[in-house]
Symmetry: C2
Subunit: 199 residues, 2 copies
């Protein structure tokens, strides 16, 4: 009986975004109504400009507005270590530590047969090419999440990189810093015991 | 040293929206990158159209794209009961119960001296005018949240409406004190309507 209003359409758009339920979607749609005209066009311009100008770095595949991203083109970064991550979000997390000075390679996904995602849909060939063409690379840290898909992807890449003269490492497993042991799952505790360090 | 990228700008826009933290903001910005061109323009069009075409109903002040909203222009709705709510979000919550067949009045806020919001900034005068001009209205349900601001607003409106020949009621405390109506489940809202009390 009732036609779908623009407001409902907009709320539907928001609710299709990751982690946004229908109530939050309406909250965001109502927020748009409270903006003034300039704020709204600034927002839509930001969406359109980001979509238009953001591409993947020719080396590491991370999102950038240039051919080569700011990390790959930073001569002060250590060229000998490549940290392989699932997504650009992970690059942000690593950068926030201010403790990693190597470079990255962004896979843009994980191997997930259940979701029909195989190695060819990830930027693994670009990683291989980079290592092949770049004798400065001495180590590849496989920094995918310790989930089934993350493990599978790490194991696959480790196998692919075997013929190359690079050290291959994996992020350490353990209990998160600042968390309580009682909330850690058994597998994590098991790994933490296995990887215990002498002090 | 580094200029702010479009992606960061877009993430900042998202993080200024209610309930969106910086991590979710980046998640949403990365989601935009994965859309195709049509999906992006559909989204920005939805934002612009919603902002441009949505106005307030001349009677109840709820958001609509017409002069009179679909509820106020629905002849099947009971004209004798007006449910006064803080925001359009609350109308959605009430409609979801499928148990209220009267009409609404949207205040667009609550009296909040701490935030500099007085009765004049709310659509109270429109409510008074509506009651004055409309002898069919027999009851006004004050359905603001059972918070300090919601109570203050309800008491204020009750006082303003005293001279008029209408029954004034308040939602029953089926809704947990201190919580917001938009987060209440349909059954709770239903009970609160059934148990409304005259004040």
């Amino acid at each position: 009986m009732r036609e779908i209003s623009n407001l409902e359409k907009l709320a539907n758009f928001f609710s299709n975004m990751p982690g946004i339920g229908i109530k939050t979607a309406y909250k965001l749609a109502f927020h748009i109504l409270k903006l003034n005209e300039k704020e709204v066009t600034d927002f839509t311009d930001a969406i359109l400009n980001t979509h238009k100008n953001t591409k993947k770095c020719l080396i590491c595949q991370n999102y950038t507005e240039n051919k080569i991203c700011s990390i790959c083109s930073d001569e002060k970064r250590d060229k000998s270590v490549i940290c392989v991550v699932e997504s650009s979000k992970d690059v942000i997390s690593f950068e926030r530590t201010n403790a990693f000075f190597g470079r990255y390679h962004v896979l843009h996904g994980l191997i997930s047969p259940f979701n029909g995602i195989g190695p060819k849909q990830l930027s693994i060939k670009e990683l291989v090419l980079n290592i092949k063409n770049n004798s400065e690379i001495k180590e590849v840290i496989l920094a995918t999440s310790p989930t089934d898909e993350g493990e599978t992807t790490a194991m696959f890449i480790a196998k692919v990189l075997k013929p190359f003269n690079v050290k291959i490492s994996r992020l350490a497993y353990g209990i998160s810093v600042g968390s309580e042991i009682q909330y850690a799952d058994s597998m994590t505790i098991l790994k933490a015991i296995e990887n215990r360090n002498e002090i």
